[in-house]
Structure formats: C-alpha cells, structure tokens
Chain length 144, copies 2
C-alpha cells in the first residue's frame, strides 16, 4: 500500500506515459494529495506501489466493488498500472497484475476487470497474454 | 436509492435480460441481500431504483471512485443499467443516465464511465447517442 509521501512519485509515474504526458500535471500536487486522502476514506479503494532500491518504481490502483449482478459477484477493478520507464518490459507489469489478483481473491472477488485505451496496443497484448478477455467496450464521458 | 426490500425486484430486472438470464439466479437471494448490505458499508457504492406505480421498474448501480490519474479526477462508474421489459424503448434508460450524471456531478466527479458487453449492439447505439465515447476496451478475467 502507498503512504502519503509516495504521492509525488506516483504522479511522476502517471506523467511519464504516452497518454499521461498531456493530461497530468505535477503543478497540481495539492489535488493529488487531496485525492489520496479521500481514497483512504473510501475503504475499498487502494493505491499500491512497488518499491525497488528504496524508490517507488511501479504503481496501480485497486478498487473492490460489491454489486448484485452476476449472482452478487464482488469485482476488483484495476486502474492506472504504471512501471518506471527504465524498468519496462522486464516482467514488473505481470508481477503487479499477479499482486492485484492475489489481493482481489483475498477480498472475496470473483472477477477482476480493467479498461485500457484503444490506442494502447502493447497493453492489449499484455492483458491478452495474462488471460484477460476483451469482452466489453469501455465508454467514457467528461462531465462539464 | 434502493432499500433492502427492493432487492428481489432488482434481481428480477437483472435476470430479465439476454445475458442475465443465464447468469443470475433468484434461488441465491441470500447472497444478493448480503451484497446489498455490503454495498451500504462501502460508502461510495449505490444501488438506485426507478419506481413507477409503486413497483421497481428500473435500476442501476453507481460507484464513485477517487483516484490520482487525470489530475485527480473523481470518476463515477455505472453498472447494470436495467429497465423492466414492458417499459423498454420509452426513454427510461436515458432518464436513468441523466440521473446518474446529476448524482455524479453532485459527488464531484469529472468523468462518468461504464463498460458494456460487445454483444450489446443496442446498448452501443444508446450510449453513442448520449455522448459517451467508446474509447476503451474492457478486459475481464474470472478469478477461480
């Protein structure tokens, strides 16, 4: 689990990404800290970091969502999986997903899910390889 | 918001669906009630019902998810949108989504998102019409 002082390192990971480069901003650190605090209050919403040599080198968000559908199957939702650029393509992403699946099982989830931008073809191959099925379309709408 | 006694009616809505017919089961009512109770404990996870003539005729699930990505944009996630069969194609689905967007804005969300099965082509047209962008692929994996 991440601690509050990990927030700037996680923001750096989110920013160092083809899509994230244009939509994150370390100038907005206050709002990232506020979001981290709010996540702690939402009991089933976790920020996970991977640490190597004392530094945060990977992160993802894991949210447990109880619901009635699928015979009341609890779901785990993965968001914002990131690995530091110098360490990519070395198997760390697969370790993060294995960690997410283990935490999901422990929380009683019968399903793990995520969405990934259609432009991320490398990510599609990655999730295919790990046994994820691209069975759904992911729709988003900005709220003005 | 749904109350506990609405649970059987919501399960009936979930079951009366091309995909739900094979994957829901009113025989498992105990687990649906337990999931409803667990949702109440997860503060940002809501079951909403639409009532007409004293009966539950529509439902959806709305979960608010705080996170660091997109400059700490809070997201609203919609799941399991259902309308009673005799009332379909009469604009109730659009009312449900308008209700979801209003609740999402009130909760400080800057984005609303959902996934829908690739087989639901009617649903794709519906969300397209409401201004949702199918920008993502939705991956799922059962946890054995």
């Amino acid at each position: 689990m991440a601690v509050r002082t990990d927030v700037p390192a996680v923001v750096a990971l989110l920013s160092d990404d083809t899509l994230g480069a244009t939509r994150e901003g370390a100038d907005a650190l206050e709002s990232y800290f506020a979001a981290f605090d709010a996540m702690q209050a939402e009991g089933a919403n976790h920020l996970i970091v991977g640490v190597g040599d004392g530094a945060v080198v990977a992160s993802y968000q894991l949210t447990f969502i109880t619901g009635l559908s699928l015979k009341a199957t609890r779901r785990a939702q993965v968001e914002s999986v990131r690995v530091a650029a110098p360490l990519r393509n070395a198997g760390i992403g697969a370790l993060l997903m294995a960690d997410a699946e283990a935490r999901a099982r422990e929380a009683g989830c019968g399903l793990i899910q995520l969405t990934t931008n259609r432009a991320r073809s490398d990510a599609h191959r990655f999730y295919d390889r790990l046994g994820y099925e691209p069975s759904h379309l992911g729709y988003k709408k900005a709220l003005g």
